[in-house]
Symmetry: D2
């Protein structure tokens, strides 16, 4: 942290602020006196909002700026640092070569639905199965998922079609049961900031897909990742799923495709892009999906239902099987070009 003193402070004012800083834990302050400005840098592990607040409130302090990031564990230390997460069944997310597509129904509604959908998506090239077992809804009183029964259907389909299973866990008390069936634990947007849940999944050895919390700034999101990793689990995948928008008559959320690049800049963790929730309507999903591929996503997520018109949840953003098959054909074309583009760029070495 860096403290800029107000202009014209006296030496004793500076000394008082130094004392204040050094009274906290192991911190030490360095004073840099220039022609116009006096700046203090704080050395030590500063996890103390109280000190920052006190400094901001000090009449001789003009500005307080963080100069190191709060999210130490997910922060990228050098250009080449990349985390590759092995999610099972030989599938890896983050290796820069494979970009596995995760697909499946919003809610697991029946064994027939799960098996039919899973068979179809596997045939078309999906490598990870998704499906919801616990689905609390915005408004209480509607269908809220088949719970453990749904997990059984999903596990059966995952085994039969050789795909790891990604499914949401909503509460620390459910981490155990969900872990019995799932390969990848997903924290949903509403629960992305739930610290008890972050702690609980951080104590498992399962890969965790951390959706971006509602309107999380990049820093908020990476702080959530930091908390999971702080409990010991480094297998975190960040999932972009769109931001709240004033255009909500036209889009369910506003996809932040630039997040894929910025997160890759700030962090060594891989990024999954949820191309369904981030727009919310079938007719926008394909181009949104491809924009995410082109922007560098490490994995893609879409919702697929063998019969979306009868879907109990999210029918308006679920592809049917022929649509998904078409999407995957398009995806392979774009993915090939992405590889060629990156090779061409590396060869040209223009700094682009």
């Amino acid at each position: 942290m860096l403290v800029k003193m107000r202009d014209n402070v006296s030496d004793s004012d500076v000394t008082e602020v130094v004392k204040l800083i050094e009274s906290v834990g192991e911190l030490r302050a360095e004073v840099h006196t220039g022609v116009r400005h006096t700046i203090l840098t704080i050395i030590g592990d500063l996890n103390d909002e109280g000190l920052e607040g006190t400094l901001r409130g000090n009449p001789n302090v003009d500005r307080v700026e963080s100069i190191s990031v709060s999210y130490k564990l997910p922060a990228r230390k050098d250009v080449d640092q990349r985390t590759i997460v092995d999610v099972g069944h030989g599938i890896a997310i983050g290796n820069g070569i494979d970009v596995p597509v995760c697909a499946g129904p919003c809610s697991a509604e029946s064994e027939y639905q799960v098996m039919t959908t899973a068979a179809g998506i596997r045939e078309s090239g999906a490598e990870i199965l998704r499906g919801g077992a616990f689905k609390p809804r915005t408004v209480a009183g509607a269908f809220e998922g088949y719970g453990e029964q749904a997990l059984k259907w999903l596990r059966k389909a995952a085994d039969e079609f050789h795909m790891p299973l990604q499914t949401e866990v909503m509460d620390p008390s459910e981490v155990g049961i969900v872990s019995n069936y799932a390969d990848i634990l997903q924290l949903g947007t509403r629960n992305a900031g739930n610290q008890r849940l972050q702690d609980a999944v951080g104590k498992t050895d399962k890969p965790v897909v951390l959706k971006r919390g509602i309107n999380d700034r990049y820093t908020d999101w990476l702080n959530s990742a930091h908390r999971i990793m702080y409990s010991g689990n480094e297998k975190v995948i960040l999932c972009e799923r769109g931001l709240q928008t004033t255009d909500d008559k036209h889009l369910r959320n506003k996809p932040d495709i630039a997040a894929i690049q910025v997160i890759h800049d700030l962090s060594h963790l891989p990024v999954q892009f949820d191309a369904a929730h981030s727009v919310g309507f079938i007719r926008y999903i394909a181009e949104n999906f491809h924009s995410g591929v082109v922007a560098g996503a490490d994995s893609l997520l879409v919702e697929v239902h063998h019969n979306p018109k009868e879907a109990l949840t999210d029918g308006q953003q679920s592809l049917n099987l022929p649509q998904f098959d078409q999407l995957m054909q398009e995806y392979r074309m774009y993915k090939d070009i992405r590889d060629q583009v990156l090779a061409s760029r590396a060869a040209a070495n223009t700094g682009l």
Copy 2:
């Protein structure tokens, strides 16, 4: 829900959409054919996002609009409907006469701190004690609260100084223990949308202060209140605490003071205004607090610490005891005028 068909649809197009609607549960559709527009209204209990999505995706449908609110239970049915929540020790929130102030430290740090602060705020006129026992922090690794020990200190202070105790519960597994000590269960901003937690506090008989979730629209917030009430607990108090802001160099959050009036318009539930978090810096708290009083808040919340410079959390937004005493003197002046203003307005009866 209301469905506007595209211009120039045929009768059979309309019939097909009617059939689609009537295929879901107990719904029925009424057709209104005008000179230019054909509009369908849907009769029945519609808790089905799938149908809405399917309708939006139908090529003959132009617009789908909700015309009734999703949050039935907190919605105000007529102008005079008001919920008054008895929070214990003879204190009520929402009666339009009393506007109790809730104060206390961000975190309960020691018996001495809690008792000293509680004595001071009671002396100055606070009627509800607040204090944090479980304080997970944005960045893992810092001080996170003294847990049950803190609850004991707070309970002791609440009893000694005759104030109900408002404290946060973070996880369904902690509802039991917190309920053993607290009079009012608070759901924090990060957990306002946690449906498992909403369900859990909804099954208690404790008053619940529901902070507004990060960037919750009014509808989101009232949907959360609906879920708590749906589980059987009608004693819900909505707490405004500010929204995320692009001015975050200057304000921790941006207070939405208009929310107090709008929520009173939309809902019969009372509103508490958190004058501390909604700005985040001591120098803005007093005017912010008074603006909330004037706007019609049913209760006010501030953080007070007997020695803010040594506070482990939130020192930059905690008043000391002389500041709180001054605030309360000012508050009483404004509250008196608010009562006189409302009486004057009722007498004048201009429709203001």
Copy 3:
């Protein structure tokens, strides 16, 4: 417009609201009485915020909803309606086949700079030249463009290298002089909502690139386009350039790539995507650009400078010539695949 009456209104309440509506201009109200709801639809050309306000304020009115759009002229009437704008030199924007790239310096700084940059971008495949002559800056007192001298350099380069020239006009009084040199008039973000300027460019016969105003909702942006077209100029191109963001430490703006698809849905006007301002840093431009191509942009915009380190403005988001050449090679690869994808999708006809 559609008016939902409150439940349980009397017939005379409804009659009163009908009278109120019919007292305004040529409007007529149709009453649709159903089992639960009474709904009025208003027939006629309603450009009257006063009536909407009065209706919202009427105690017997529950909801007022627009059911037709305010921006009549840019609104797409049927699926196939597309405007193709001829921008000169044989270049068209919006034909679905060609996707011309517009490039050039932020500011025209010297004849040498303009000619060198124009020669380079033309060689690499750019088809439209951009460059700033009038460049008021956020903070007064800095370099603000070379005015007409700059327009002369740009015109010379446009002629020499056979590219139409796109340049910004800032004030109605400058429309004449800028029109003497430019082929395409650009309204910048700060001035997108300037109605006097909209009127002035609407009276010319030059194609207009209308940048999206700061945080414009789609409706705001299309209302601006409507105003230009209302003055008689139908050659409007909408330019997406990013939205304000709370992540402004990491991005200058947040690109709304989904806007490309949504605008194509709502409007028949073509969309240019400004891949430079929408992120603001060189290292994010290429992927951002390609995401826009893949999402369906009709034209792309980037800033190029023959020596960005010495650029007087926007050096941090200007590509140098080798970078631009590399970008264009990548662009051609992605554009080819976009054409193949669309052909494949049309053949499959899955409704994707």
Copy 4:
């Protein structure tokens, strides 16, 4: 500006960055080498986004932070600095004692309307008259103001009832004619960022009310004020009028009442609070107005119409004369208490 180098940079890396900085104009760089961090501070007048961009792009630079503000002229230099703007007819804005209320119709619609409304508001205590002569509307084609005729009505009313006149100017070409009639030039939200207009009003000697641009951050707004002052006009009043909101079904804008305090902290300029546009509906105006008074506004703005049901514009947010009279009675009660509160606070001297 302050530049933090990446960890482990070599001396020659630092030297290179110093050279880069010193190659621009009159700038000089000071190097502060600490145990962990190397920090450069830049001395000189830095109005160069290009340098900032180049520094951000330098591989050896970790962070670039502004440590002085861009808006020099409106920035408050010390705690007691306050600008008082004399707006004519003996009325001052910003003296901390008087808080003049500005009222009048959205649009001047007829001599009768203007005179009747002006007489009424004056009688009730308004001290400044407002009214619109040029009223371009969101959607082209509606009533857009009576222009110079309206200015004549307004001037007549202002003279007759001894109030200065505040009215909007929309374009540099209209500054002359509006100045012939008005005492105070208002820049509306849509034109707040119009730099040509800022320059034009900056060259007059009329007080300028600068509305906050759509979603302006405080910094954006103060940069606009700076530009006006840079042209020589120091009589600037900042007018808060609400921000864009995702709650736009319930509020036209979201009032940022905290802006009043923050602007007083950052700037010596006075603040007017527009209590009408910032909510947009009559039923929220009174409490919103009073919240602004309590928060420290130097002037208040509301729309009043002698017959709002027939207003051509903004009927839904215009008070009638009895409502305005009631509002002013309430206002005087709150204003008295505000004075008493500030006196009490000064006497107590607790640092609140």
